[in-house]
């Protein structure tokens, strides 16, 4: 182990050199980790074995344990998400109640925002400011100064805020209900950092995309009633489609079924804004932005823990977590669902970000 740790910087350097693309000056070793896909592997809850994997889209080999390799210490427990703001990366480590800030070029740690309560996702509002969703019950959006990593303001929102999306001068927050229930979106003005509206959606909205017609697609995981650690009741999930200017509902599409014990968490869209992908019981599904009902047949009939869509190629990056006691897999698919390759990543891969 000591040997591996001592030669880790050389491994990283060698990888970066080997990945150098002469046709694209931006992909040189000097760019470090600024371009590529970042996969957060949340690890097994309570086992503190979360990690970040890095992959260049033109490569079929990933760098796993990137943070520990560079910084010489483990990342923490339940690595929830990764976001980029300017030249910095923000790694949200949920059960370690912190955000690790890294320099995107070297991936060296340059700061920690700690003492957070149930941090989930970060959205870069602009180069100076980012929003962080926190809270498993009554939630908040924390305003973070990208330069100093300090929390400068707090914005109240609904229960269990998760993903956020930037639309013109407003940020829309999905209030997923956390460990309770909610059915709203909170809309924040990015200049004043004030809540300007609250819109009703389907039950427990969790993730969002905007299609080519500027319609807002909200993935609603359904209502879940908990008794202690256990589920007393659940309702079906849905896709809520609305107007991102005023929150008016356009249509709501039922997906999944009651009793499948599946609460979808991830939605994505292709580069053209035409095909919306989402996870449900049975696999990865796709729906055209003009369709009114869900295609009952999965595009990829495989259970994924998360996924992403390459904004340049439209390829689908499925994240598979067959067990939380061993490494997971990143499986790349053509937009039509054909498998391209599989790449080993860390334990419990849940989120992917392209840069």
């Amino acid at each position: 182990m000591q040997i591996i740790r001592s030669i880790a910087p050389f491994i990283v350097s060698a990888f970066m050199l080997a990945s150098c693309n002469p046709d694209n000056p931006g992909d040189s070793d000097e760019s470090g980790f600024q371009h590529g896909a970042f996969i957060t592997n949340e690890g097994a809850f309570g086992n503190s074995n979360g990690s970040v994997s890095y992959l260049r889209q033109d490569s079929s080999e990933s760098v796993n344990h990137l943070f520990e390799m560079v910084n010489g210490r483990p990342l923490g427990d339940v690595v929830q998400s990764f976001s980029i703001a300017g030249t910095k990366g923000f790694i949200v480590v949920n059960n370690s109640q912190k955000v690790e800030v890294v320099d995107l070029k070297s991936f060296e740690s340059i700061g920690i925002i700690d003492g957070l309560e149930y941090p989930r996702y970060i959205l870069a509002v602009n180069e100076e400011k980012a929003y962080l969703s926190v809270g498993n019950f009554t939630g908040q959006i924390l305003v973070i100064d990208v330069a100093t990593h300090r929390i400068t303001d707090t914005i109240p929102c609904g229960m269990g805020p998760e993903h956020m999306i930037l639309y013109n001068d407003q940020v829309i927050v999905a209030n997923s209900g956390g460990w309770g229930n909610d059915s709203t979106l909170t809309v924040i003005d990015t200049h004043s950092d004030k809540v300007i509206a609250t819109w009703n959606t389907g039950k427990n909205p969790t993730d969002m995309v905007i299609d080519r017609n500027d319609n807002l697609w909200v993935l609603c995981k359904g209502k879940v009633v908990w008794e202690g650690w256990n589920i007393a009741f659940e309702s079906g999930s849905s896709l809520w489609v609305g107007n991102p200017d005023n929150g008016e509902v356009i249509r709501e599409i039922s997906i999944g079924s009651i009793g499948d014990f599946y609460w979808p968490q991830s939605i994505g869209i292709d580069p053209k804004g035409k095909n919306i992908y989402f996870l449900e019981a049975g696999g990865l599904y796709v729906i055209n932005y003009q369709e009114q009902t869900q295609n009952p047949e999965a595009l990829v009939a495989k259970t994924f823990y998360g996924f992403g869509v390459d904004p340049e190629t439209g390829r689908i990056y499925g994240l598979s977590a067959p067990s939380f006691t061993a490494a997971g897999w990143l499986m790349r698919y053509e937009p039509t669902g054909g498998l391209i390759d599989s790449i080993e990543v860390g334990i419990g891969p849940n989120h992917i970000v392209f840069n």
Binding site: H65, Q97, E117
Partner: protein, 654 residues
Amino acid sequence: MGKNRKPAFIVFLLTTFFFRWAVDLYAQDIIIPIEQITISGYAKSSQSGSFQSIRIDSLQKGRYAISDLATLLKSETNINVTQYGGEGSLSSIRLRGSGPSHTQVNWNGIPINSPTTGSIDLSLVSSLMADEVELIYGASGSLFGSGTFGGSLNLINKPDWNNRLSFMIFGEAGSWNHYKTGVGVRTGNDSWQYHAGGYLQSSRNNYTYRNTFMPGSPVERRTNDTLKTSGFQQHLFLRLPRSWSVQAGMWLQDRDKDLPAAMSSGYGNPANQQDQSFRLFTRISKIWKKSVLEIVGSRFADSLLYTEYARTTNQAFRQSGLYSGSSSAGLSGRWYPSNTLTFEAGSEVESQKARGSSFTGIMTEYRGAAFGSARYKTEHLTFMTGLRQVLLSGSQTRTLYSLSARYEVPGINLLIRGQASNKFRLPTLNERFWQPGGNPSLLPETGTGVESGLEWGQKSESGSEIQLSTTFFFQDIHNWVQWVPSGTYWSPENIRFVRCQGFEASGNYSGKIGAVRATINSTYSFTESLDMNILSDNTRLAGQIPYVPRHQVQSRFSLAFRGFEGFLSYRFTGSRYTTDDHDPWLMLKPIHIADFSMSHKLFLKENEVLISFRVNNLLNHSYQLIRAYPAPGRSFLLSMNYMFNQKSKIYADN
């Protein structure tokens, strides 16, 4: 019943019913009381086969007069015990490369493993509850029943019919506000003996550790790790007319434990767990000239209340309770047709029940078994075979067998032993009925194991003694249950095929140099526990399963002189994987632990006082038994054990 036995019997009954009522009162908000019964036969002891075994004697127990089994086993044996941090934290035994639910823990022959998890938290079992602790490696399924891939850990209470009155007071203080006190009394005569004892313990466990998850690995102090525990046990032994005898025991324990976060989660919500246990058993025996009849019944009940508090408001916002119980009854008979032959046959029935927020109602399972065994024993040769037929809810059946033999080679003090047996473990109530994810169609884990060993010993006229032993073992475990993700919840599946193999070697020397007695003991174990599942490319993984070290060493050295004793021990535990894919980045480093103690025993007429000073983790080694849960560093303990009537056996007597 003779007139002189009545007071002891009445005291036993009154205290038993009082504590039973207290447990029900505590649990009534979250649970429904459940009946439970259990039965066992004489076969559950190291004498019943040719197994490798360890017996922790009174001298060893004396160093840990009132201690939990996790501490006792970690310090006095070379077995693999994992623990989530400091004293009172969840502890599991992983014997011979098996899992936590693969070692059966028996209290006077009756399994006390949890019906919901199949394992037992060793930190919940106090050494006060037993007079002897015996560990049998690889105990066979035909003799012991379900869940013995690793072995069997036996807690045994026994009377000393020569005792008239004994009394013990124990006190201990140590680092991190550790306080412990206990009392014990034993009284009786040739026809009855009554034992009772209780203890109180508290510790803040606020030790310091290196947080390797933070930049620079700063030294931090553990928080929210306070432990408060108390326990009471009593036993009644009766010799009745016409060769009838009765043994009855009761065990009550309460623990209030704060649950600290992993070192990577220092800002997490504080949590607390309260555990209560009530255990009661009765064994009635009738002895004839060449036979014995035994009837055993038991009733166990355990409750657990988990509470999580909001960090900012300290208000409880998440709570779950679990109540489990079991009842068992059994009947067995032994027949000795000659001096060399013994036959035993019997049957047992058991009901296991659980209720809690994770179950939809009261989950119940009934089990039954019929068993038989035969033993042939001469001066040098012992041969034994056993057979057990198990009946489960749903009409499933299992047949278990065992063969064992031992031969003492005349004239050279050499013992050769070997055994072969098949084993199984029934799915637990959690595995079958947990909501969501429980899998009612799980199959039992099954496997077959063999072992062989050599033991050699020599005693000299000068009083020195040397013993050497080695054991080789091999075992396959099929259908090993593993919880795996299934959509957005987890579900148990019969996934693993694990091969456990290795050997254990030990050497002991004890001798006198003038008035000084020196004792040296060393053990080494090599354990391979290989995941043999077939991969997608048709090859086998064959990698070591998590939290099983390949190498373990323990050496102990003591010097005793006129009531003084100095003791030094060293333990080495090799590196351990923490994941199934053997990720080197997630390995735990090797552990080197040294302990030191000094004690002095004063004799005051018929009484004696034992004063001990102990340093645990002398070298202040920083280590983890479970990833991200720091173990304590160096600690100091001062204890005093005051015993009256030294001629009688009493707790921690040495």
